[in-house]
Amino acid sequence: MRDNKLRSIYLSLFAAFICILFPWSGIALTLRPDFMLLVIIFWLLRAPNQCSVGTAWFMGLWVDLATGGIFGQYALAYTITTFFAVIYQRRLVLFSSTQQLVYVFSLLFLSQLILLILKAFAGHEFAGWSYFLPSVTGILLWQIAVSLGLNTGRHSHGN
């Protein structure tokens, strides 16, 4: 059971990574949700013992490699974001789906904000508010997954 879960964690992380590797361009690139972070948050809620800050950091490194930026940017953003997910994990699973959605949105937003700050240190300019669109598409994707019956670790369904 545990091995099964581990396998599905790694498979889904791998799938998320492939999603990032797709040749996105133009509008699609601006709208592309952060698949990796969504999958990590999902597993943080579902299986906090198997997937934690370390996993997020490690996957962040791979995303760094894929984006071609300086090593450690995504790793740092994911580390801090998952920390906030982990410390509220017990409350999050008791939240209603709307509350959870709001919290996931703020997590996605936070990770983008951290990345923005890191980029600002490197001398890049803020590209406008469309920069935060991936957070919006991210929660849309989350909502779609939830309405399709994906259990995001919530216990409030009567059992």
Partner: protein
């Protein structure tokens, strides 16, 4: 607040049933420190370049898998392209081939004439560039930088610093090379500068990418500079990176304000920076530097005086990274003459340097 969190964890971790290893705060501290250390190392030191290269080799098969759906779509799209479309394309290409054929005939004649003139003037021969055709795999995933990844790398002799050109003009420069792919920074990226010349009057300037819009800036030019809307910028070639005379951009806005001594000039790139699939990677050969050291020793019976001037020339070529090719070209006749008469060397070197004349 932190104390509150601590207490919370202490309570939570009390039963072994709920044990989760180190506390999240400890993990956060550890991994944050690790990330910061990585960032510092990667941005300031060169240790991680090799690691990145090896990991990119690992990543390549995944990239091919991820590209497969799009590739498949494009292939089927090509297969089903209409008869009419193909005919139109064919007609257009035939016309283009005819036009270019005529231009090419004239070019051959001009090349011959140029070679003759150069030999009469005893001037250096211009170097032939090597070029590789590459296809764009994907555009950069970082929304802050303008980069593209192409499918040719070190295995195909692509070198860092090669210019990326398409049918209409320069689009960027190779900034990182991996075994089977390389990263091109577009001329519209903020960190890329390209030495240009106004085609109309030969005025030299340096164009910087703007970063956000697909435009280039020409900063630090005085307000009374002779640049008009519609002026064409071409590569000046004085950097030894880009071959001279390639189209770069067209001036689309030239504005002067009362409060600034500099003109505000915005240019639009000529090349299809955003919409082409094929690019040509042109590099000016730097191997000349090695042959320069080897040839005098091998072809002459007295190697001692011949190698010393060659060695004396090398640091000049190596230190002036931006003008490598010119210096190398310049150094060649200098070495050749110094084989016969070493005392003549310094004079010849100064004379044949292009910057001394300009």
């Amino acid at each position: 607040m932190m104390r509150g969190i601590h207490q919370n964890f202490d309570q939570q971790q009390a039963p072994a049933f709920f044990a989760r290893g180190p506390s999240p705060l400890a993990r956060l501290t550890f991994f944050t420190a690790l990330s910061l250390a990585l960032m510092a190392t990667d941005s300031r030191l060169q240790y991680l370049a090799n690691v990145r290269e090896n990991l990119m080799t690992l990543l390549h098969p995944l990239q091919v898998i991820a590209n497969a759906p799009l590739q498949l779509y494009q292939n089927t799209d090509e297969y089903f392209s209409t008869h009419h479309h193909l005919l139109a394309d064919n007609a257009r290409l035939k016309k283009q081939a005819l036009m270019q054929g005529i231009a090419l005939q004239r070019l051959n004649l001009l090349n011959l004439e140029n070679a003759n003139l150069r030999s009469m003037l005893d001037a250096k021969q211009s170097l032939a560039e090597t070029s590789t055709l590459a296809e764009i795999i994907h555009v950069g995933r970082d929304s802050f930088t303008k980069k593209i990844i192409v499918n040719r790398g070190k295995n195909h002799h692509v070198v860092t610093g090669a210019a990326a050109v398409d049918a209409k003009g320069v689009i960027g420069q190779v900034t990182r090379t991996y075994p089977s792919s390389s990263e091109i920074t577009l001329i519209t990226d903020k960190s890329l500068a390209i030495p240009v010349q106004i085609e109309r009057n030969g005025l030299r300037a340096i164009a910087f990418g703007h970063g956000r819009d697909n435009t280039l800036d020409l900063p630090y030019l005085p307000a009374n500079v002779d640049i008009k809307r519609g002026d064409k910028l071409v590569t000046s070639g004085i950097d030894g990176v880009y071959p001279a005379g390639l189209a770069v951009a067209t001036v689309i806005e030239m504005r002067t304000t009362q409060d600034s001594p500099f003109a505000h000039i915005i240019c639009a790139p000529t090349g299809g920076v955003e919409n082409d699939r094929q690019v040509l990677l042109v590099s000016i050969p730097k191997i000349e530097l090695e042959t320069l050291i080897e040839t005098p020793a091998s072809e002459k019976s007295n190697p001692a005086p011949a190698t010393i001037p060659a060695a004396a020339n090398t640091p000049v070529a190596a230190s002036a990274a931006t003008q490598t090719t010119q210096t190398v070209q310049a150094a060649k006749p200098a070495t050749a003459s110094s084989v016969n008469n070493p005392a003549q060397k310094p004079l010849a070197n100064v004379e044949s340097r292009p910057h001394a004349r300009q």
